[in-house]
């Protein structure tokens, strides 16, 4: 069951990540309470919900940055709670993009992207550089490779963050509210990069409130509140008739805040 290949209609889908009943608490506070879901290869999963719902923590449980207290996560067929001493290797197969970028501030853009391949994959300097430059090209940051993070705009920092994840050639990329710390006029360039990746069939799990992005590329959306999954479904489901009352309330509040969820859709529509 579970992993491996399953026929759905006329397509074969492969599960890349399987989150199985994950629980996590900080001290006495239960932050994630028994979350389960599967992610299929080449798809984008969007997780959204009010702050404090445990979305970021869940994301960090998935790549074992903060190992869960109970439950487990499978990457393909590997149980990440039972990897012995090899968890650093498996973690490197996930890419992660952070809300506050977390670029290494003492390194240039190029070094930020190169250090993963260099140190973790032990790829020789010149090859690592080629890989890094390709990743930077992909996010249109190649011209900035000798700059330091402090010299970049928020959008450029985040695109560098995405390149740093891409350079490791990850099987899944985890996005933790990648646009929440950005000025409104810089959100577009980051979303555009993410749309490109989604269309290239990169497997992505995104915690985000960008509903235009979700509508354009998400194959599954997960609404979380108070540490648990409230509702799961396709974007069509959520935007036409969300079943749960809490989901409806949250979505209408998002709409109040950001305008209609189509607001950034012209961006997505351009690409279609």
């Amino acid at each position: 069951m579970g992993t491996g290949e399953e026929a759905t209609g006329d397509r074969y889908l492969t599960k890349v990540v399987s989150v199985r009943d994950v629980w996590k608490s900080y001290g006495k506070v239960e932050v994630v309470k028994g979350v389960s879901f599967d992610v299929e290869e080449g798809t984008t999963t969007v997780i959204f919900g009010p702050s404090g719902a445990g979305k970021s923590t869940l994301l960090r449980c998935i790549n074992m940055l903060y190992p869960p207290d109970r439950g487990t996560v499978l990457l393909r067929d590997i149980d990440l709670m039972k990897t012995g001493g090899k968890i650093n290797y498996y973690r490197s197969r996930f890419g992660m993009v952070f809300q506050h970028f977390n670029l290494f501030s003492h390194m240039t853009v190029l070094d930020n992207v190169m250090i993963g391949p260099r140190i973790v994959k032990k790829i020789p300097q010149d090859q690592a550089k080629t890989i890094a430059l390709e990743a930077l090209e992909e996010v249109r940051m190649k011209d900035w490779c000798n700059h330091y993070p402090s010299q970049l705009s928020g959008g450029q920092k985040q695109r560098t963050g995405i390149a740093r994840a891409l350079a490791m050639d990850p099987e899944v990329i985890l996005f933790d509210e990648p646009t929440s710390a950005l000025d409104p006029e810089l959100i577009g360039e980051v979303l555009q990069t993410m749309l490109d990746l989604a269309r290239e069939k990169k497997t992505m799990i995104c915690v985000t409130h960008e509903m235009g992005f979700a509508k354009a590329v998400a194959s599954e959306m997960i609404f979380m509140d108070e540490g648990a999954v409230v509702e799961t479904g396709s974007p069509e489901h959520f935007f036409t008739n969300p079943a749960n009352e809490r989901t409806q309330r949250f979505l209408s509040r998002l709409t109040e805040l950001y305008g209609r969820h189509e607001s950034r859709e012209n961006l997505a529509a351009d690409e279609k």
Binding site: R60, N63, L65, N88, Y89, R91, S92, R93, F94, G95, M96, F98, H100, N102, L103, F104, S105, H106, I115, G116, I119, V120, K121, Y148, S150, Q151, R164, A165, M168
Partner: protein, 182 residues
Amino acid sequence: MAILRVYGGRAGGLFVSTYERVMRSIPPLILIFLFYFGITTTVLEIPGFFAVTLALGLCSSGYQSQIFRGALESVGSGQMDAARSIGMSRLQAIRLVIAPQALRFALPSWANELATMIKDTSLAFVVGVAELMRRTDYVRAATFDPVVPFLVVAGIYFVIVFPITRVAGTWGQEKKRLVTGT
């Protein structure tokens, strides 16, 4: 020491913080006497130079550990998360990501501590090590001039210490500019 304090868990942290507290509360002069007279009379005879080095080293390490702890903590936890997210081990992350940044934060205060320690070496005078201060006193005794030799030696200390604080100060400013972008 500082790495143990920040990343060494409960026991490591407690050990280092106790050590820091003790060392920072004892005047270095007492430590010098303790090592010089204490060890010489009970265990084995050690030269004054060795006792002074040991005492000043221990005393200063208490302060230096504090400085580096502050610097390590000023590097946000996001840096560790990011380093580990690309597959680095904890040790790799500390060595390649956290420490280089912390060092830059620490440099100005560390230079201050270095300057203080250089000045404290004049305390070696009391256990008969022929350092700068004692030699000056020889000159005073020979010339019966209490003012000029001490003015000269003050000048020598100044010449040694001033460049250290100066260089570190500007270097620290430069790095800060780079990191904060101001």
